[in-house]
């Protein structure tokens, strides 16, 4: 699909998404919109997708492994919460979160990417638990186990965002921008270098691509996306404590990217969607959702390692060729 077409599709999607929670009966359309909780879930999906995009960049495009994304989301969330409570405007906090997590990503990646791939998983795992310990123990800074309460939602150019639909639009806007940035990066020569890295690192190196530099940048950028997601998570939930930033959630980030389709553009959105919506769909079997999720992952890995997006691609392509081939 050409660049222009992709952009048009993207804009159309954003427009549709913007309307989903809105009650359209006022203008004559039979669509009641979503209540507070539905809008909250939709916003959570977008925030999770940002973090998942980061993991997808590291795992799907640069071919590395990371179990540290939850820690980076945590760093972004705590930084934003602490700083906005001290009176700093949200925009500054958001930028700071992105910058700090990028730098930490570089510092972590620089020594860690030297080691063989699977060791990276363990180093990032250790990093996550260490961060979580700091979040939990340093009560003077992070509120410890009690966490930080009553986090304010920001205002955008003087327009308050406390209302759930407005905050959703704000997050939608930021997500769209971040998605566009990633799309642009992947289409650029940098992006093609990443694909080369993933397919055959030795060959890429022999072609003159500085493997280490590209991998490091991809890693740090992925972590920064995590930090930005965290920065939005804090005002969304209005309360943070260490539990969403522990090892378990980090594992779930990996799983959701792979289920969605690692290395595909839409994969993170699908994966995040499943992670956030599956518990809602399965509400009747509330406590079983993780079990079903795990079985789903195992089945997918065995039969459809391309994830859901990969599966859909194959199905649609097959139907396309059967009818004589169409774009």
């Amino acid at each position: 699909m050409s660049a222009g077409r992709s952009l048009l599709v993207g804009l159309a999607l954003v427009a549709v998404l913007a309307l989903v929670p809105v009650d359209l009966t006022d203008i004559g359309l039979p669509y009641p919109g979503l209540r507070r909780y539905g809008t909250y879930i939709l916003t959570l999906w977008l925030v999770t997708a940002i973090a998942a995009m980061g993991v997808n960049l590291i795992v799907g495009y640069a071919g590395q492994e990371t179990l540290a994304q939850a820690a980076f989301v945590g760093i972004g969330a705590y930084l934003t919460a602490i700083v906005t409570k001290a009176g700093v405007p949200f925009g500054v906090a958001f930028a700071a979160s992105a910058l700090v997590t990028f730098v930490v990503g570089v510092l972590l990646g620089f020594p860690a990417l030297r080691v063989q791939k699977h060791y990276l998983a363990f180093v990032t795992l250790a990093f996550t638990v260490l961060c979580w310990l700091v979040f939990r123990n340093e009560q003077w800074l992070t509120g410890g186990v009690m966490g930080i309460r009553d986090i304010e939602r920001p205002s955008f150019l003087g327009w308050p965002l406390r209302n759930h639909v407005r905050f959703y639009w704000f997050v939608l806007g930021i997500t769209s921008i971040l998605t566009f940035v990633l799309w642009w990066i992947l289409r650029s020569p940098w992006g093609r270098a990443f694909t080369a890295l993933r397919e055959n690192p030795l060959r890429a190196e022999s072609l003159g691509i500085d493997v280490r530099l590209y991998t490091l940048v991809a890693f740090a950028l992925g972590c920064a996306y995590g930090g930005m997601a965290g920065s939005l998570y804090a005002p969304l939930v209005e309360f943070i404590d260490p539990s969403p930033f522990a090892l378990g959630p980090s594992l779930l980030f990996m799983l959701m990217v792979v289920i969605g389709g690692s290395g595909t553009f839409l994969g993170p959105f699908v994966g995040a969607g499943i992670a956030v919506l599956l518990p809602e769909w399965l509400r009747a079997w509330e406590t079983w959702y993780l079990l079903i999720y795990a079985v789903l992952v195992m089945v997918m890995m065995a039969f459809f390692p391309g994830g859901i997006v990969g599966l859909l691609s194959r199905l649609l392509a097959r139907r396309g060729t059967a009818t004589g081939g169409r774009p």
């Binding site: 699977h118 090892l247 795990a294 890995m301």
Partner: protein, 292 residues
Amino acid sequence: MADFLQLLISGLATGAIYALAAIGFTLLWQTSQTINFAQGEFVMVPAFLALIAMRWLGLPFVASLVVAVLASMLLLGVAFRYVVVGPLIRRGVLPLVISTIALGILLKEGVKDFYSAEAQSFPTLLPDTLITVAGVSVSLAQLGVLVVAFAVIGGLQWFLAGTRTGRQMQATAQNPTVAQILGVPIERMILYTFLINAVLAAMASILISPIYLAKFSNGETLGLIAFVAAIVGGFNQVRGAIVGGLLIGVLDNLAAAYVSTAYRQAIPLLLLVLVILFRPQGLLGRREERAV
């Protein structure tokens, strides 16, 4: 001084159990490139298999233990090998890693949903009677754990170095292609590794559940410790896993007593990071060549 000795003995006792979990993990990685992220859950499940045998089938304790070990060999050995690892290994290592992560979650949630979310007391084979020597109190149960664990490890070492099958397994681990050329039935060797891991995990489970209480979430801590112990000790040597397990057990206790109880988990992890960065082959391992 008595305190330090006390911590040392306690640490060695729990460390021996960690070693059992770490050895199995190492063997699987070496022989079949399987990084089993569900190893912690493998150590959690057999205790529940024993509890099921006791409560639902009404068997006496020792018989239930035997049932648990056999069932583990079937489920965590054979079924794991042919249903999970087999189909996935040809997809590459990442899908397999993801699958074992998912398997860990599956086992954990399965026990939580089908058995109970609460901790269960688990009977101990040995009584808790205290023996005091030179100011250090050790319970018979702890001594028993040390004895059993070391017996198992000793037996394994003898098997690997002293029997033909054992040496064939070692050959498969070091270089499967060459081993195959030399006539080693590597498929069978790989199956044996899975069975051995299942037995070691079951033994660890039986030894640790009386202390930890059997709970579906035990796998989280135990798994992490198994990884750390295996890597710190040295991946290409079973001896490495043993040393790693004991070291972590002792270090954890000492850290809690002398450093800070709030950061006790950090010490083994920091050790892990240092080892990976500066001596990735582990304390006892040999430097590996990078495959091209």
